[in-house]
Amino acid sequence: MSGESVVFWITGIFAVVGALGMIVSRKAVHSALWVAFAMVNLAILYFTLEAPFLATTQIVVYTGAVMMLFLFVLMIVGVDSSDSLLETLKGQRLLAILFGLAFGALLISAITSTISVRNNGLEVANGDYGGNIQGLAHLIFGRYLLAFEVTSALLITAALGAMVLAHRERWTPRKTHIEMSKERTFSNQVTPLPNPGVLARHNAVDTPALLPDGSPSQASLPVQFRETAQDSDNSKEVTS
């Protein structure tokens, strides 16, 4: 077995394990970690495929940026919410297995029955411009320049979309500091509010702090998280 084969079989199996781990984990966070694991393994495979730059980018962009974005969103929607893996749609799982297997089998049989695969290696291609990265640069800023330019539209769209859907504007003028302090002074609680998660089991932003008597304090949560489902669970667990 050549070195390449050894690397392939190990990382390949790891990648499959990562992918399977993603779909069987009950918690989304675990899924995310499995995905990151699979992606790192893919990055190693890219090295053996003479794509060092791609491998680096895979780690930096995918595991570094994209998966982090996933984790951020997971924080928002409740980091420890776990799904039941019980199927609720009738026949969905059976058909999914059936179609999935049929699809996979057809795909793999198509690949295995193909014999005309060459194995040219990239020495020539890399040599043309004096290296892998130079070669990539020539393609990106040459042959694929238009696509490169057009992707900018994609990124702008994404940024704009996130702004439109997630950025909340104010329809009243922002309160000045003086107004806020006045308000606070005339309210029931002059002291600072408790932080979320204080004395509670978790410290996620949506977990209310527990008051000395063990009851959850809604006042500790940011406004948009008050009265969510999680607090009642938490209080039950702690108080009972």
């Binding site: 749609l89 969905q92 058909l95 999914a96 179609f99 049929a102 699809f103 057809l106 795909l107 198509a110």
Partner: protein, 619 residues
């Protein structure tokens, strides 16, 4: 010139529809003027045609190239030949009369302007249908008359039955339209052209299967539009429309479009024996079915509708006989157009006089109250049952003669049909105009205004002289021969025997009806309920009982069975098909269950399916 024929009524419809309420005051007169001027243009065309020799009579007018994609070329061309002009005169002539009649008939309707717009639209579409020079353009006219008919059937939309009837007509007609569009496409594939001339020229090159298929597709189309078995069910329901509409569209013109189509496509049928046989069989079935339906109806308009079906059955049958019959199909079509329009207008006039009641059991003894209607209706009656020398005699006799030349059973069918026709028409006559008055309370029958009776009188003249005029003055067989070809029937049964036999059958039918309905009182309610039956029996105890047992009951059962078969069997099939699709749809939409994952699953399955089909090809 030819384009003006279509343009005038189309202009009328456009002005009336776009003008809206502003045209309420004069819209109907404008529509009449448009229709009448189209008639005059038609007459002028006809006269100029008379001046030319028979080969040069066909005139083509190129308007513009409508569609030209690759080898597919459809000109927007019109043609007037001897066949078209006959239709043009019928459509514009009868059409104008009915326009005039409608002024009176619809005078109280607040939507009268719209009604006239639709009538104009119909005339334009029908003219396009008969003036097109290719099947493609014919299809346009075909759809156009369908649309106009649909609009007019459901004109009184406040009646749910009218709306339903309109929908039914639409759906059944679509089945026929599938036939026509298939036929046009098959023609294009087989002959590479869709013009009448082109198809006629290339027809001999087609193989027998294609010819057969085209023939069947055309027949399906004809069945839909001409209410032939098994697509006849919509015509009876179409009587929900205003009576002038029934007269113009569902008796004189549109429903005969199927006959026109078959005669026009004679090149196809000439070459396909099988297709011709199918046409004859359909015609024979319909003519008997229609006649029997006619005997069972108490609704005067539905009775006439059954009669229309039956008479068109005659025409279809004649058209299926091939060159011996084409001319007579058209001949009967023209005479029928006159007398049936007259009969319908008469029926409308009667309804007008008795507060829109259509039940003949509520009529009786109207001959004194409505003299003009009585006389004109009577002349139409004589024409339809085929008493010489009235119009129907000349054309129907020719068809019976030709039918016997083809096949004895076909001949017998036409003969029986003639007898039954005489029976139900006499029954209608007797129940309406003779006997004692059975008017509902508060009904005071009165004659219609002149604007309505004048068209009836003109049509009555046609019913009397139309047949003779066409046969002796117009020489219809030699007139049409250059277009459709003509052959004399090779006949074993000569006309000298046939005419007396036919007349005897007709008189027997009429006599029986007169004895049953003219000589004894007609129950006001259909004699199905026992109490009324006894009341009927009390009036004429013994003879009536025998009559009931021997003739009435079996006859009643037979007709009832036929009507049942009509409404449940055939109708049921069409309705069942619609229901099946609706059920399929209701079931199928459950797959769209709203779950994104389920959609993704379908896509995954689809991807597997696509891959599978692709690999299958390689095996």
């Amino acid at each position: 010139m030819t384009a003006a024929l279509i343009g005038l009524p189309l202009f009328g419809a456009t002005v009336l529809l776009l003008g809206g309420r502003r045209t309420n005051a004069w819209g109907h007169l404008f529509a009449v003027a448009m229709s009448a001027s189209a008639f005059f243009v038609g007459v002028a065309t006809f006269v100029s045609m008379l001046g030319r020799s028979s080969e040069d009579r066909a005139v083509h007018q190129h308007l513009f190239d409508w569609i030209a994609v690759g080898s597919f070329h459809v000109p927007f061309d019109l043609q007037v030949d001897q066949l078209s002009i006959a239709f043009v005169l019928l459509i514009t002539g009868v059409g104008t009369l009915i326009h005039i009649y409608s002024i009176g008939y619809m005078s109280h309707d607040e939507n009268r302007r719209k009604f006239f717009a639709y009538l104009n639209l119909f005339v334009a579409a029908m003219l396009l249908l008969v003036l097109a020079n290719n099947y493609f353009l014919l299809y346009v006219g075909w759809e156009g008359v369908g649309l106009a008919s649909y609009l007019l059937i459901s004109f009184w939309q406040h009646k749910p039955s009218a709306a339903v009837a309109g929908k039914k007509a639409f759906v059944v007609n679509r089945v026929g339209d599938v036939g026509l569009s298939l036929a046009v496409m098959l023609m294009f594939v087989t002959f590479g052209t869709v013009t009448f001339d082109g198809v006629a020229k290339e027809a001999s090159k087609g193989d027998s299967t294609s010819l057969k298929l085209i023939g069947f597709a055309l027949l399906l189309a004809a069945c839909g539009k001409s209410a032939q078995f098994p697509l006849q069910s919509w015509l009876l329901d179409a009587m929900e429309g205003p009576t002038p509409v029934s007269a113009l569209i569902h008796a004189a013109t549109m429903v005969t479009a199927g006959v026109y189509l078959i005669v026009r496509a004679h090149a196809i049928f000439d070459l396909s024996e099988t297709a011709r046989t199918a046409v004859v069989v359909i015609g024979a079935i319909t003519l008997l079915l229609g006649a029997f339906i006619g005997t069972a109806k108490d609704d005067i308009k539905k009775g006439l509708a059954g009669s229309t079906m039956s008479q068109i059955g005659y025409m279809i049958l004649a058209a299926g006989l091939g060159p011996v019959g084409y001319v007579f199909a058209i001949f009967h079509l023209l005479t029928h157009g006159m007398f049936k329009a007259g009969l319908f207008l008469g029926a409308g006039s009667v309804m007008h006089g008795v507060n829109d009641d259509v039940n003949m059991r509520h009529y009786g003894a109207l001959r004194t109250a409505m003299k003009i209607t009585y006389v004109t209706f009577g002349l139409g009656f004589l024409a339809i049952i085929g008493i010489p020398p009235f119009a129907g005699f000349w054309s129907k006799d020719e068809i019976i003669h030709a039918a016997f030349g083809q096949n004895i059973f076909i001949g017998l069918a036409t003969l029986i049909g003639a007898g039954v026709t005489a029976f139900y028409m006499t029954r209608m006559m007797a129940m309406t105009f003779f006997g004692e008055a059975r008017w509902e309370k508060g009904v005071h029958p009165h004659e219609s205004p002149l604007v309505m009776t004048a068209p009836m009188m003109i049509l009555a003249v046609g019913s009397v002289f139309g047949g003779m005029a066409l046969k002796f003055l117009g020489n219809i067989d030699s007139w049409l021969e250059p277009v459709v070809g003509h052959a004399n029937p090779a006949n074993d049964v000569s006309n000298t025997i046939l005419i007396p036999v036919t007349l005897a059958v007709v008189l027997a039918g009429a006599g029986y009806a007169w004895v049953t309905y003219g000589q004894r009182p007609v129950p006001v309610v259909a004699p199905a309920e026992v109490s009324l039956l006894t009341r009927a029996a009390r009036n004429d105890a013994y003879g009536d009982a025998i009559n009931e047992a021997v003739f009435m009951r079996p006859g009643l059962h037979l007709t009832r069975a036929l009507v049942w078969f009509d409404s449940k069997g055939i109708d049921g099939f069409i309705a069942g098909l619609a229901g099946f699709i609706a059920a399929l749809s209701a079931r199928g939409r459950k797959i769209q269950n709203g779950y994104t994952r389920s959609y993704a699953l379908t896509m995954l399955g689809g991807a597997a399916l696509i891959a599978f089909v692709l690999f299958l090809v390689r095996l």
